[in-house]
Point group: D2
Chain length 139, copies 4
């Protein structure tokens, strides 16, 4: 299975007065994680948009298992999966670099594929090949 | 059922280059909606914190049914429900002021109750009474 | 002088672990304040963009005189001024609703006018008239 | 002079519908830049807070010279300077990795030193030594 590790640090802007990361900020780091995963797979999201394909989020969710504090060094472990040829599911597991066995947060986003005119479309061949090839590597 | 309408406008800061509200911003408006609902119920979240009770989010989710653009006037219809005496579920339905029948977004957050030392606790009596009284009104 | 009062509440998302509003959030409220001021003047920023005029920020600044905490009810007093026919200066003074004499924050943004192709242009006549007419009212 | 290069990528969350980074986001990257610079100098901001010293921003400003788009790889060149023993001035220059001669944005933040009780204090010795030693290196 394709897995990508996105490393990041919790910033002051992310922390609320409970001293932990505010709940919606995880979704911003999910975005960074999936963007860098796609670059790592050899197909940037920017190129997709230049080909006239956008990947709007149609569903998002997050489970908060433990708090993360200022300047914590975290990893967002990210996995991608095609679904029915017209959806992409991406899974996120956030852990601390120091204590990777303790899960801080898990999440999921589901993405559709749409053309610039907003019409739904199938997963672009370029992305499908990249994902499928990678899957084969780990079979 | 307790329902509160939170009115807001989509701001430039919320819009991405697809021209629609960025997916994590909905969670920020959910927060504004539930905070104002609690004030409207006669019990502010600030007072809860001053009583030593915090309501961290343990789960959040959102479904994006349609885009919302800059300066759209939206309503976040918000409902609150106690669950098992130690959780609070809050439901959100975002519609346009002009076209309230068309649902733009739905979401849910689940909140735990914890003391300042981080230990879990039951729903505070003050909040329970407020919620229960309101429920009776609509029975 | 044109002055517009934008009322807002400090949200949990705005507060950092010092318990006060994070410094960059003020700029987000400045945006809400100037957008609503323009609507109040009878010319929305959305209409300007539809006419092919954008008003990018070319300079911003903020002075933090006192902290503002969660659920504080604040007013952002906003003033607009044309400058040299190709710039707009907007001034912001943030005070508490309860204690309007105590200034929490002051700020300024300077805006250019550009066409959709990015070329600079003069202040649009529609905006100039609105601003000039209002100025006359207070002479 | 102490100079630190903070590398970052522009994220979808940062981009508005003009297709460029929203103006207040620069301040968030300034924060990341100065935090990592302090770590690089051997004194983390987290340690300072644990010693009971906070460095609230008392002034911030930014000049927007050119836009930066999605997935641009940028550098925030950061410099720190002590001022009068009770202020720290930090300067930021944002350039593209590909075209470092073209300045996209410049900014400045001024920080005070306060104790946990909010009382102003002098620059902590630990920070002063770090800054002063580094200055000597480049004399």
């Amino acid at each position: 299975m394709i897995q990508f590790d996105y490393h990041f640090k919790v910033r002051y802007k992310d922390i609320d007065q409970m001293g932990v990361m505010y709940y919606s900020r995880y979704f911003e780091y999910y975005e960074a994680a999936r963007t860098d995963m796609m670059s790592d797979l050899g197909l940037t999201y920017k190129e997709l948009e230049e080909q006239g394909i956008m990947m709007p989020v149609v569903h998002s969710e997050s489970d908060y298992l433990a708090g993360s504090g200022f300047d914590d060094h975290l990893i967002c472990k990210t996995e991608i999966r095609e679904k029915h040829g017209n959806r992409m599911e991406i899974f996120y597991t956030v852990v601390s670099e120091n204590l990777p066995a303790n899960i801080i947060n898990t999440g999921k986003t589901i993405h559709a594929f749409v053309k610039l005119n907003g019409k739904p479309t199938r997963i672009p061949q370029s992305l499908k090949q990249v994902v499928d090839n990678k899957w084969e590597h780990v079979k």
